[in-house]
Symmetry: C2
Subunit: 357 residues, 2 copies
Amino acid sequence: MSTDQRRQTGVVRLWRHLRQLTFIASLACAGLPASARAQEVGPITLERFGSFHVGGRMVEISGQPIREYMPTVGGTLNRIDPNGSYMVGAMYAQYMIPSPQRGTAPLMLWHGAYLTGVTYETTPDGREGWEHFFLRRGWATYVTDAVERGRSGWAMVPEIFREPVFLPLQNPWERFRIGDGPGSFARKTTAPGAQFPTDQDSYLNFMRQVVPRFLSTDEDVLAGYAALLERVGPSVVIAHSQGAALAWQLAQRRPELFRAMVLVEPAGTGDMAQAGRLKDIPQVFVYGDNMDPRWSSIRSNVRRFAAAIRETGGQVDEIDLPARGALGNTHMVMMDHNGNVVAKLLQEWLTEHGFWR
Amino acid sequence: MSTDQRRQTGVVRLWRHLRQLTFIASLACAGLPASARAQEVGPITLERFGSFHVGGRMVEISGQPIREYMPTVGGTLNRIDPNGSYMVGAMYAQYMIPSPQRGTAPLMLWHGAYLTGVTYETTPDGREGWEHFFLRRGWATYVTDAVERGRSGWAMVPEIFREPVFLPLQNPWERFRIGDGPGSFARKTTAPGAQFPTDQDSYLNFMRQVVPRFLSTDEDVLAGYAALLERVGPSVVIAHSQGAALAWQLAQRRPELFRAMVLVEPAGTGDMAQAGRLKDIPQVFVYGDNMDPRWSSIRSNVRRFAAAIRETGGQVDEIDLPARGALGNTHMVMMDHNGNVVAKLLQEWLTEHGFWR
């Protein structure tokens, strides 16, 4: 045995030792699918993370009175002249880039009306949310607040934005199919087998996430999403409720910004007359259980819209959750106890369509 | 030379090779203390991350008209009865828990007026912010939005919250010592050596972060911070501007919730008559450069407040940035080009006082 061979033997032994350590570490992850072992549970390694604002426009305000106020104990009198230029309609995004990446495009997580990006973060009862789910599978995730909401900020009312709308406690319970219809909040009754965490703490945590929306800002919101996709590049967009309708509307204007669309309980559609604009974007939509007349009517509109896209040669799939064995899903699918069962169906769809490797 | 010796030689060679690689990698981190090298650059491993809301109170609203609106194309008519119970005054927090942890308490990052937790995230010109800085040093970080702002949401005006105030473009430029006083925004002139990124893109990115504040919500804001610290436990609190004044005010009510206080450009103080309530909390405050009459006056108030705490036996340090060689710092220290120079001084203070190991 030459000196060189012997040196190599030493290296090989160290290598085997390291492999053994790795094997021991892997036992902690036993039972998980091989593809997901590394980050399914336990620590998450981020290549990088951060946030930014995009978009917005300048508005001039004049003729407003000057304000003076004492901002805080130990401060000095503040004098605010509210006249001048405002940056309004900008949009906030927070990104987490995992290592290694397995998604073939950035993954957008767009929320619905009266909500913010918190929709996709930790659930109201403290479980990991869909942001965690997709990050752990190697997707570069972008959680955003629509223009006018959350960290995107809002603008003077009624000078710039008009008509904020607020939700009282009973409204989502009865309208998001958590309860069983009108009066159910007062009765404290739930839809059959409702998967939303309906204990009082969890429901109040959900209501703590609820923020005002405005009835006059759709064009600003759409411009914000367009600026986001222009900056990040063509993306896979998961969009919920109002966000899904807005995603379809933006995709009809700017189809080149969308790689795929995953529409979760869409609250509306795009423009039926322009369905063909969506024919080159793979799409899937999904609804939960316990449909009431209002949601059945919306789903009928969405199914007609999907049929119109298909007629132009497009591809729109539907995942009917109860038909796939997922029962009791409310409008807030990602917060439901079985939210990850649904996320896995979406992940499978994305994998089958070549967006994950 | 025996076989065993030769094997050992191979291992030693591999070891030296690894050490050499490590040395090369370490050049990128030259000048940092050895203890901080591991995560100074490159990927970050999180033990866990997530978000939650805390606090809030119930408000009853009655006598408001019912609203009907068409929320989106393809939706159905929405009928919102705004009367009922509202959850208002809740507060949003996002946490990142690194692995390994080196801080001896959770680290709070509280923002100032007209801003949100974004203050501590990526800077307006795209550099890592103080959240990254402290996370990379093993601190469990909590970035929060004060009640009424960002993802904490706001409440009906004027029924619940009163008097939102908005900031036009010129205001922070002239009031945060980015420019050189009144008229400097129109002149496009900056304070001498201003460290804030003053190119147009960066300043507009900063203004995209600006949100309304309210003049009637201090008690709600204080209650939110109290609920946060009750949930997370006694913490090291880094607080900026208005947030620093609020932190002092809360600490006077609930000193047991604070392990240490780092007050960055405080915009006010606590109650001078109750300075003794703060005597058991180690504190440091820091101001930047180019003080104008208004900020000089506020700093004088803060110095008198600090003196009053010291007279009761407390410990309050001051870091005078220009005197420590850090020149040109604006009010938005954490966004300044030399923001990490300041963060290092704060990290040193925390280490010297036993809050980091």
